[in-house]
């Protein structure tokens, strides 16, 4: 395997059982993502983008195909292996920020380190990240006291605090106004450009996709060559 490839997906299929009906969410996805790449995935609702993210993030197992993340085969992984994968290899950023409402911004970030068992480790690089994200002065606030843009920046800090191989951002600007969207997208680009963070971003927005190096289009559970109408 090429060492510069962080994600390699071949003929990935995912079938959900909904009631008595099989739903084919992914129908043979092929994808390769290089280290340090910023990839946008666009496609209409139901095209399988989120399912692909959930599989790449270890939240759900694939039905068939091959998925390697940083050389680790997801198909062969047990539930606890996938938990470990989320802890070490993947960082999530969600559309709805998904911060823990009872904790301050700093604790929301620290909890990811706590879960990864890195409580006592010095992390000078992380200081840089917080400055990069511009939230150093908002760390004592709880999410309800932060703007949407600030919450998303805290969520980004949380996603990368454990130095994951890949950052998965699912519509990270879906709940933000244009200004904050631009800040967040700019920050993702900076994280990618300056820290070399590999990023996969789902988006409906072509302007957001333009921040990425490359855009992949999905339709009906497959990666397609031609762009499709995203809405």
């Amino acid at each position: 395997m090429n060492n510069d490839i962080v994600i390699r997906v071949h003929d990935l299929r995912k079938i959900y059982r909904v009631g008595e009906v099989d739903v084919h969410a992914l129908r043979g996805v092929d994808l390769a993502v290089g280290r340090g790449e910023f990839l946008a995935i666009v496609g209409p609702s139901g095209s399988g983008k989120s399912t692909l993210f959930h599989i790449l993030g270890g939240l759900t197992p694939p039905t068939s195909g091959t998925v390697f993340i940083h050389g680790k085969d997801l198909l062969a992984m047990s539930e606890s292996d996938r938990t470990e994968l989320r802890k070490t290899e993947v960082g999530f950023v969600f559309q709805k920020y998904n911060l823990l409402p009872t904790l301050t911004a700093s604790d929301n970030i620290a909890i990811a380190r706590h879960i990864a068992g890195k409580d006592f480790q010095e992390d000078p690089k992380f200081r840089e990240v917080l400055d990069l994200l511009g939230i150093s002065r908002r760390l004592h606030h709880k999410p309800r006291a932060l703007s949407g843009g600030e919450q998303q920046r805290v969520a980004i800090a949380r996603a990368i605090v454990n130095h994951p191989s890949i950052l998965l951002a699912d519509e990270p600007t879906g709940n933000l106004d244009t200004e904050n969207s631009n800040v967040v997208l700019g920050l993702l680009r900076d994280l990618n450009g300056q820290l070399g963070q590999t990023i996969l971003m789902i988006t409906h927005n072509p302007e957001a996709a333009a921040y990425a190096h490359r855009t992949v289009h999905m339709r009906d559970g497959k990666v397609v060559a031609e762009p499709v109408e995203s809405r």
């Binding site: 939240l59 802890k87 879960i115 006592f120 150093s136």
Partner: protein, 403 residues
Amino acid sequence: MAQSVKTMWNAREALSHRYNGTWSRASRAELLEFEGTPFLINKLVVENLKHRPVRTLLSVLAVGVEVTMMLTLVGLSEGMLEDSARRARGVGADVLVRAPGTSLIGLSSASMNEKLLGFFEQQPHVRYATGTVVYPIGGVNTITGIDLEEFNRISGGFRYQEGGPFRNPDDMIVDEFYARQNKLTVGSTVRLLDRNWRVCGISEPGKLARIVIPRRTLQDLTSTTGKLSSVFLKLDNPANTDKAVAALKQRLPDYPIYSMEELTSLYSVNNVPGLKAFIGVIIGLSIVVGFLVVFLSMYTAVLERTREIGILKALGASPAYVLNMIFRETALLALVGSVLGILLTYGSRWVIETMVPASLIQKIVPGWWPIAAVIAVLGAILGAMYPAWKAARQDAIEALAYE
């Protein structure tokens, strides 16, 4: 809007500074917090509890009541037994003789022949003997019949706070607690055993009984003329107690005969028929109440926090981490509830002392504090089992989609 633009600029500003190797003082100071978060799970637990103060308060209160129920019941059992022992000792006798086939604790009809008093006084080392008749008047209360002259020889007589000894067959001596509870003074009329009694004296507590009437009158009223419930013996010298008891047991092998020292040790929960089982039942009920409340509380907490649990799982939290969090929260609720329960026992004692000092005596039982707390924590953990299991098995994708 102006604020968000400013923030945006701050972000860009910070980014440009990064490459010059400069740091804002604020970020350096605040970032120190990230260098030690071993107890973050505890912080999360505490913040979760603070987030829903009413639910937390109710859960703590429920566990508190559970613990108080246990401690109050045990305190009452031990307190009343100790009080009984204290009052028996307060008679000043050295030996107690009960009727054959009766237990030390527990009421039985007067069945010992009064003529035995003369027999006892002729035994070696026995100086005086006095017989009592005890009759239940409802609840745990009893009325005791004594021959005042006999009783005074052994005990040195009652110390009266008010009034004095019997003058008439329907006179009654009550102790200070009973008088206070029933708001009695000398001359008050008390209706007991379908008869009016006149309070002739109010005595200091701690001697034999709370309500004392002439023995003859009680024997006539309860159809036990010439019969006794217990006989108290005063010896020539307390040092001869063992010898005297041994001799008496030889002469009266069917009679339970106790030295006062032995009697005190026998006044325990284990020797009261059914009391241990009763305490067990109440503790069991307490555990069920605590279990149900914690179950409900943690179940709603888990439902409400479905999304948060999904977030933790997305961050890599294992089922064990989620279980750990739920059980820590439960244990904290139960421990705080236990402390509250212990404090509440002081409240229940105050209420009992104020309202019914003659009927109930509650002892504070520190020896039972850890036992009650462990029972409460275990009951609570049991109650949290299913909610915790549900949380641990929560599907992260479904949880994250939960609104």
